[in-house]
Amino acid sequence: MAVIETKNLTYTYPGGTKPSITDISIKIEKGEFVLITGPSGCGKTTLCRCFNGLIPHFYQGELKGEISVVELKVTEHPTYEMAAHVGLVFQNPENQLFALSVEKDVAFGLENLGVSREEMRKRVDVALNLTGMYDLRERSPYEVSGGQQQRVAIAAVLAMQPEVIVLDEPTSFLDPLSARKIFEVIYELNKKLGITVVLVEHRLDLTAKYADRIIIMDEGKVAADGETRKVLTTEEVRLIGVGIPKATLLYQMLRKDGIKLDNAVPLSSDEMANLLREAFKTGD
């Protein structure tokens, strides 16, 4: 079942002179982990805003083409209805936090869905623990650091247990170890519970290894779409200037230098180290 499907989706912001996304036709299946990347300003965030109906319900402007998420036509269902199915974590956590305490912020979505008190308690605690915010649950979301705010925003979405989680650079303010932990939590939710994940990221060093599939956008259009290992080694990707992981880049450089390395393109340092270890052995 396609969880997200768009057909020739084109959108122009109010007062915009040209569309921010043009003719996007993609299909994301249930349980996929999809990475969306591309140069800054290429339309990634705009596309995410379509997935939960912020476009066209909150942002006016002109939307053409079709979009359905969990088989609901986004244009015909209000954002609050979409929110039960699609969790969106914004780039800037301040745009999404507002409650008096971290805990209340995480519980807010559940209150609106009319979840029982016990169930709410359970889900909020699980989400706060997963994101490492449990000890700070009584604090105001405005008192905690930028990175901690990002964790609160992620916890709020996790607590909703939606079918699809859309994350727009969700860990940009986080230190690398915390970012890695968050990505691992998201990866686990994807693998264990089958939650579909759409992740927008520039930092492929941290994220490429989690994604089954990568969509590369450029100037509002889809420039490449396919299996992560294949797409990252294509010529188009190099030309668009996507920052591929250093391990992948080193692999490509050595292959070009004529070094024989296995065909499995590495996406992480572990994979690259293993390939090199094999190469050292065969050389002996």
Partner: protein
């Protein structure tokens, strides 16, 4: 030159963010401050331009104690680009945003025009001159905030998380720009989590944890020391991690540069031709 002498800082809500920091950043140095969330990195750099004053201890900028001068006076020499551009942007157009400080500092009209054009061009924003900053993407807004500070050419530049939301090419431009600033003896201090960016720039690194500095040294030394890094919640850059994992095969451990990595691997693998 920035001198921090045994500085403590406690926020009004009682949170003790800095617990005895002493450091010196010399003119023309390039320093990256790294460390886990909530370690006090932003609090520390806000002391460098007088936005925050120490609860205890002293901060001197070019010999003047920050408590003795206004933030406006310090700002002429110390430019500060915030982590979140929305804390900084307020004008109706990108061009007005960039010219605002220049007007306040009393630059001449024709100089303002030239500087705005220069800054727009440098950061790839020329096409947005008449656009509202709030119409732009997160990454683009970040660049507008940077452009508005660069335009007045401060001698010290503090960049709080400059690579957030920036794509590969913008990061490369930023790196080139920092290198260029280095040749003019500008002092650059960045607060960042971006290990790959830092590995490419190879600055002096200060690691913070829980309001204190836990390590201070050359980039290559610190970025290849997993014990010290994990204490500050930082991971190894990919190249360093590959070399560390293979250190039992006789490869050196302190490699962070991809070109250096290639050179070493080519030598090693060619010694054992198939």
């Amino acid at each position: 030159m920035i001198e921090v002498q045994d500085v403590y800082f406690t926020y009004p809500n009682g949170v003790e963010a800095l617990k005895g920091i002493s450091l010196t950043v010399k003119k023309g140095e390039f320093v990256a401050i790294m460390g886990q969330n909530g370690a006090g990195k932003t609090t520390l750099v806000k002391h460098f331009n007088g936005l925050l004053k120490p609860s205890k201890g002293r901060v001197l900028v070019d010999g003047t104690e920050t408590t003795k001068v206004s933030v406006a006076t310090l700002a002429r020499n110390v430019g500060f680009v915030f982590q979140n551009p929305d804390h900084q942007l307020f004008s109706e157009t990108v061009e007005q945003e960039i010219s605002f400080a220049l007007k306040n500092f009393g630059f001449k009209e024709n100089v303002i025009e030239k500087r705005v054009t220069w800054a727009l061009n440098l950061l790839g924003l020329t096409q947005y001159e008449k656009t509202s900053p709030f119409m732009l993407s997160g990454g683009e807004r970040k660049r507008v905030a940077l452009a508005s500070i660069l335009a007045w050419d401060p001698t010290t530049l503090i960049l709080d998380e400059p690579t957030i939301g920036q794509d590969h090419q913008q990061k490369e431009k930023l790196r080139q720009f920092i290198l260029q600033m280095q040749t003019q003896e500008k002092t650059i201090i960045i607060v960042t989590h971006d290990v790959e960016f830092v590995a490419e720039c190879n600055p002096r690194i200060m690691l913070m944890r829980d309001g204190k500095i836990v390590a201070d040294g050359e980039g290559k030394e610190i970025l290849t020391n997993p014990e010290v890094l994990s204490e500050a919640s930082i991971v190894l850059p990919q190249i360093a991690e590959i070399f560390m994992q293979l250190s039992d095969t006789g490869l050196p451990r302190n490699v962070i540069d991809i070109y250096k990595a290639r050179e070493i691997l080519l030598k090693t693998l060619e010694k054992n031709p198939k």
